[in-house]
Subunit: 127 residues, 3 copies
């Protein structure tokens, strides 16, 4: 489980970086809190952070359950793919929102594999 | 704990479905990323997903701690009630926001019971 | 671990309170769901809740991993500092957004210490 913990924390570190980029974008594009709209480029940074949060709430419990009931190595590898795909997602989204397609699909797919794999693993344990 | 894991993953699967409905609503109502406003019906789908996320961050740790320190069966049953209530919540919110009242109250109540029950369980373990 | 669980649930209880304040602010400032904008004071309450969520997704796994691999007492103390700082954060943000600076910095710092400390702890376990 230390490897699983490590990858979870790496994903959270990447997410913290996305949060820091939102703070910097607030200053750069003059979007004063509590506003979250008003500049399309600021909104891209904001959506990168929010969309990653929406994935992490699924990813973290799924990685742990997948590691418990199916495969710890599988959980670690899929988690690392998520971290890399999210990096590309952030980069492409900020450059041009439409170009985020493939990184978004890959990180979404990895998240669903972990979720469904954990579900299969938990069911196998029960039957 | 496999039952608790199973219900957590069911709640996350339902949440993934809400996320997929937001993606579909983006296309259907022509809301291009990064925008999250501009069409009231799109905003309903978006708020269903967001509000469920706001509950899951409480639900998941609370279910685990409730199961550890108070009752695993109780955690599983309350978790299932949450999943069902959230289904009704999504259905009613999208149809007519005001009609989401009872499903919202029930899923909020279940979440608070798990949180406060976990708190009681952890305190009982300490004294 | 019961102490760690207790502090996690306290943070979630505080977060639930922020959610309840958003509901009350919806009524008070006449912001009907699904709208999340339209009144700057409502938006402050809303951002307090959202920003706390953005921190909790990091805080909770980090507190657990920090407690496992580095120090349970350290995790409990840092978690309590977070809860107190977030209370001040909410209070200052609602009064005057710019005055949230120090509570925001402190709760952000505590979150990063837990994340990086957990990372160090997990790496030490592996080598």
């Amino acid at each position: 489980m230390p490897w699983v913990s490590l990858v979870i924390l790496l994903a959270l570190l990447e997410y913290s970086l996305f949060g820091a980029l939102v703070s910097r974008a607030r200053g750069r594009f003059g979007i004063k809190a509590p506003a979250i709209t008003g500049n399309p480029e600021f909104e891209r940074y904001f959506r990168v952070q929010q969309n990653t949060l929406e994935h992490l709430i699924i990813l973290i419990p799924s990685m742990i359950i997948f590691a418990w009931y199916l495969s710890a190595i599988g959980s670690v590898v899929l988690g690392l793919v998520f971290v890399v795909a999210r990096g590309f997602y952030a980069y492409t989204y900020v450059k041009e929102p439409a170009s985020r397609h493939y990184p978004a699909v890959i990180s979404g797919l990895v998240t669903m594999i972990l979720l469904l794999g954990g579900l299969v693993g938990a069911v196998l344990r029960l039957i």
